[in-house]
């Protein structure tokens, strides 16, 4: 893998006066190639960063970024003086932690079980099924959830709960206390196939000889999993988990906005930073607060990503983002 580096060094022109002319002749094409993406990044990513100053302005949509008056830290003071700031931060982090743990446990468990399947035809069939939810859009998932939770005629209220003797209908879309359970279930249902595939790929990559040796030594299946599979799975588990930790300040907008049908009654347990920022921008038109929350998310998010990348580097250099 390191071989090309050496050849590359050899190919470099000798340092000197002529290098500059040669440089452009040699690499000019590269700059042309990169131009479309660079222009795009400038417009889509870098220029809006200047717009982060909106967090310190009394934003008026009409006058735009440059003409709105400065207000200093006022937007942040407002944001953090309400209970909103605490609530959205808490929700964002707690949900993400729950999601990370569930993805890890169920992902690894599914991959382990999957790896033990004997019939390749069936294995392929189940793999297709297990991965299907990942392909669906959040809009479709919302329909599926609505089919279960519709208060009057949903499957849960109408059929499943009466089986257990619960006859009075639960108004799912107006009682926030159920959502800390519903959202993790939906998130795991949709995404777990994705994680299982990652872990499965890693398990299949493990050298079969370890298992052969273990079988000769008389190790049970369970012991083999404990002493061979899990330890060898550790690096990818750590990296996948840290990648999710790096996004701990961001949420899947689709899950929190669509699946909850953005019901205001549920905000106590469903509002996260992303939906709060959207709410401020589009619905209430509170641009200043919305920008402040967005910048708060971006800065803290940056720190978290940076730190988790440092940790990834320590553990496995190739898997680090930068």
């Amino acid at each position: 893998m390191e071989q090309p580096v050496k050849t590359a060094r050899l190919a470099l022109p000798a340092a000197g006066q002529k290098q500059n002319v040669g440089y452009w002749r040699k690499y000019g094409a590269f700059y042309l190639m990169m131009t479309p993406a660079l222009i795009f990044l400038l417009i889509n990513n870098y220029l809006p960063m200047i717009g982060s100053v909106l967090a310190f302005k009394n934003v008026n949509y009409q006058s735009g970024v440059f003409n709105s008056p400065w207000v200093g830290w006022k937007n942040f003071e407002f944001l953090f003086s309400t209970s909103d700031a605490w609530n959205i931060t808490k929700n964002t982090i707690i949900y993400n932690v729950v999601f990370i743990v569930l993805n890890l446990i169920f992902g690894v468990a599914l991959a382990l079980l999957f790896n033990s399947m004997r019939n390749p035809r069936l294995a392929k069939f189940h793999q297709t099924m297990m991965f299907l939810p990942y392909f669906l859009s959040w809009v479709i998932v919302t329909y599926l959830v609505y089919g279960f939770l519709n208060p009057e005629i949903g499957l849960l209220n109408k059929i499943i709960l009466p089986w257990f003797g619960i006859d009075n209908a639960i108004d799912w879309y107006s009682d926030p206390k159920y959502w800390p359970f519903i959202l993790p279930i939906v998130n795991t249902w949709k995404g777990i196939g994705y994680y299982a595939v990652f872990y499965l790929a890693a398990i299949i990559g493990i050298d079969k000889e370890y298992y052969e040796a273990a079988t000769i030594d008389g190790a049970s299946k369970w012991n083999q999993i404990r002493t061979i599979t899990l330890p060898l799975l550790r690096p990818i588990v750590i990296v996948l988990t840290l990648l999710q930790v790096g996004r701990i300040f961001y949420s899947d907008f689709g899950l929190f906005y669509q699946v909850t049908r953005n019901a205001g009654a549920l905000y106590d347990t469903t509002l996260v930073i992303d939906t709060y920022v959207y709410q401020g921008l589009i619905v209430t038109g509170d641009f200043g607060m919305s920008s402040a929350a967005g910048l708060y998310q971006a800065v803290v998010g940056f720190v978290v990503v940076f730190v988790s990348n440092l940790i990834i580097r320590k553990i496995s250099k190739e898997d680090a983002l930068f």
Binding site: F40, K124, G294
Partner: protein, 316 residues
Amino acid sequence: MASPASATLGRKPKNKESSVMDVSKPANLAINIFFWIYSAICVIPILLVLIVSFSDEKTVLANGYSFFPHKLSLSAYDFLLNDWVNIVRSYGISIFVTIIGTAASLLIMALFAYPISRRDFKQRGTFSFIMVFTILFNAGLVPFYMMYTQYLHLQNTLLVLIAPYLVQGFFVLVMRTFFMNSVPYELIESSKIDGAGEWRIFAQIVLPLSLPVLASVGLLCTLNYWNDWYLSMLFINDNIHINIQYRMYKALQDLQFLSSNSAAYSAILRTNPDYQLPSETVRMAMAVVGIGPIIFAYPFFQRYFIEGLTVGAVKG
């Protein structure tokens, strides 16, 4: 590098009796039962929507959603047929945006990934950083929204449904890693000696050798574009540029939306003022119409998709 995941799909133990990976008979049975249940959990919600869409509205309202419809009916689809112009147009927009978006996105990202994959290109670190930084830090929704609405004035255009997803830093990194590890530098060097320019090397050597990563990143892009409703929600407020996902979203929120532009619906109301919109079943029929293509395309795509994920995971 051959993707390990592809091995699962067609994995056939050479000798069934003696494979060390085999589990005992009872364990195998238990695992099989588990997976049948798990697969059912994955599919059942979709079946529910499908069955309700074919049910009679009155019995659904009386008995609730059910896997065993008391009375079958096509009235929901009949109603949607009135709205076929809008639905077909939304489909068209989704397909157009997905195809153009994926193609443009792949090209732009590959063109960026190639130079930063070349170990002899001294500036590769700088340009990699320019890309990586966009993963680490973003301006947030408000400045992004203002850029597209106030400075580029792209509301209610198809471009705004394509542009924001064109360059994804993570995909660029995946491509770069693949170019670095799977396209031998010696090959590039010898083509240079033979007189090929960088463009030619890129188009005739690097791209053809990188079909696996292009296929997987391309599928991820396709899924991004096809499943998107967020950009529509932010930037589209007319009835012309609505894609199929957003139309489904609107239908779930408010059924009037479906009929608001349907002359047929008002005609029905004129002749029959008591006409009841079969709202619950129509909703579910709308979902079925929206799920349709992805369900059919899914089994074919799935394999490449899984390979793509693994490429991302093992980084080349």
